[in-house]
Homo-oligomer: 336 residues x 2
């Protein structure tokens, strides 16, 4: 692979590789290289279309100009959009991004984390799975820049970018309450992850705030690794069982989709028989018929924030704060 190296430039100009390196790294002034020499070197670099070999440079400097992005599943629209914005913002600053789908499984996530550390990633943007707390903590204590996204570990003081999940859930239920629904169910994941607990808590708080009676039968907690098939089947079962229920709040995109399928199978009309609100937006919710009200996250801003934070950490800039909690946005549509 005949990529031009610093040597080629040195030979071309008739000078040592050191001088070339200094000039190309913008240390010409500092090293007091003559303006003429600087000019000749820059011209040659330009002419030969030189780019440093990032691998070699990385070995020497310990910097790879690459970020690792850990998400549950890159094909999930929420994470796909997050990835897009992370990529875009990183690219602006000359960074590339490696992505890793953890499937929200600790074993896979931790293996990937181990792997990535041996590839000199400059920073880690992580949507953490349960069970990777220790490994993330280790990473941070090794001095690696880490930013958690979408969720975090409440007992770890690690930089993170999330939304106010409780507020999001509260506003979803408040919307239903304001439209007169009084028998509001919830479908969520039986997960101990903070974002899920917060959403559940928000739901309960909102019931209370609007004087809606709590009814355990209207809460469905699915295993986190449920297939859409299983999810649909269980939701269907709940719908048929809880004949009074007049609205459902789904705590994730994925559950919302399964829910729509179940509602269709049950031949219920939305919102006449059953109103619906889901967490996280998607094309289906936006353009489906009827369109579905959602609590959406400002994914673009979250992605940008995560990258800016990680770059700040890489450059060892002082960090004003460690927690960035965005506000969820309620999108009212036809399903309520």
């Amino acid at each position: 692979m005949p990529l031009v190296s610093i040597k080629d430039i040195a030979r071309d100009v008739g000078v040592s590789t050191t001088t070339v390196s200094f000039v190309l790294n913008g240390k010409a002034r500092e090293k007091r290289i003559s303006a003429e020499m600087k000019g000749r070197i820059e011209e040659a670099a330009q002419r030969l279309n030189y780019r440093p070999n990032e691998v070699a440079r990385g070995l020497r400097t310990g910097q790879s100009h690459t970020l690792a992005l850990f998400v549950e599943d890159i094909s999930n629209p929420f994470f796909a959009h997050l990835a897009r914005h992370v990529e875009q913002e990183a690219y602006q600053s000359g960074y590339t991004v490696m992505f890793c789908s953890t499937e929200n499984e600790a074993s896979k996530a931790n293996r990937l984390l181990f792997l990535m550390q041996h590839r000199q990633m400059d920073g880690f943007i992580i949507v953490p799975t349960p069970g990777m707390q220790q490994e993330v903590e280790d990473l941070v204590s090794k001095g690696k820049p880490v930013v958690l996204v979408d969720r975090h570990f409440p007992d770890l003081d690690i930089c993170h970018v999330t939304i106010d999940n409780r507020e999001g859930a509260r506003s979803a239920v408040a919307l239903l309450a304001s439209k007169g629904y009084r028998k509001v169910g919830m479908v969520t994941l039986a997960s101990q992850q903070i974002q899920m607990l917060e959403r559940e808590q928000g739901y309960l708080e909102a019931l209370e705030a609007h004087g809606i009676e709590f009814h355990g039968g209207r809460i469905l907690r699915l295993p986190s690794d449920a297939t859409d098939h299983l999810a649909t089947a269980n939701i269907l079962e709940m719908i048929r069982r809880e004949k009074d229920m007049d609205a459902i709040f789904f705590t994730t995109n994925f559950l919302g989709v399964s829910g729509l399928e179940a509602i269709r199978v049950a031949s219920k009309r939305i919102p006449a028989d059953l109103a619906v609100v889901s967490f996280d937006d998607s094309v289906l919710f936006r353009l489906g018929s009827p369109s579905i009200s959602v609590v959406s996250q400002p994914i673009r801003e979250m992605g940008y924030a995560a990258v800016r934070l990680i770059l700040g950490m890489i450059r060892k800039e002082p960090m004003p704060q460690k927690k960035f909690i965005f506000s969820p946005e309620l999108q009212v549509r036809e399903s309520t």
Copy 2:
């Protein structure tokens, strides 16, 4: 960053780094290292939790164990799924994946390609943009493993994984014809890319085959960089203009989505007023109401095939064939 290096193992066992390297690279037999030594080194590597520094190794061997994946936009569900399957299959073989969204723009794609070459990517899986033909050709002639996906350059003999686009378009129109629709429009992109030309050609062939009269007004070619807003507006305009039209074939996922929006604005019922078939599946098409008939691509198989091909090329295995053309799958739903 105190990652254990080959030196640590050498020191631990009391042997040179060379010997360690030999054993760890499976050359113990070849180099006739004693079984006992081999055992001790392997034990130490295990105990110290050793992994090679891939950057250092990459510098020496020229292999990074990393693939570059170029797609139009990672947040587009088609490409997001492709990415997922590519990642999965690559991971099985110890490869990681860097992704690059080209936005289907030659300038960005080529800049990224240049960038990636300096990061020693072992192989390139590329959904090519128009205008990157020369650069891709150069890459191949430098001996870099390249696999094109979803589309290819007809006058370049480069390994590629696609589907039979003509057949896909034909089957979509045939479906409409079989249901009695005779005034079938098409919304496509004014692109010179092969996959688009083939889809258009398939449409025309199918009209002919089913004795449907061609009508230029029922063909809408949108600029490739059209926003969904613009797409929707133009499709709406066509729907209002072509009052006779009883069905539309959308040649991409993206156009299909914009089309549904336009149809909704026009207050047409699907399929009573207007039947719909789109290329590429999506959650919206599958679960929306009414569900939309589509010509879908076996994305998983295509992703797997691309990775297996590229790995074969990296390992310099003989390649039985260069073209892998999968069959599109027609999914008949409510919209027809």
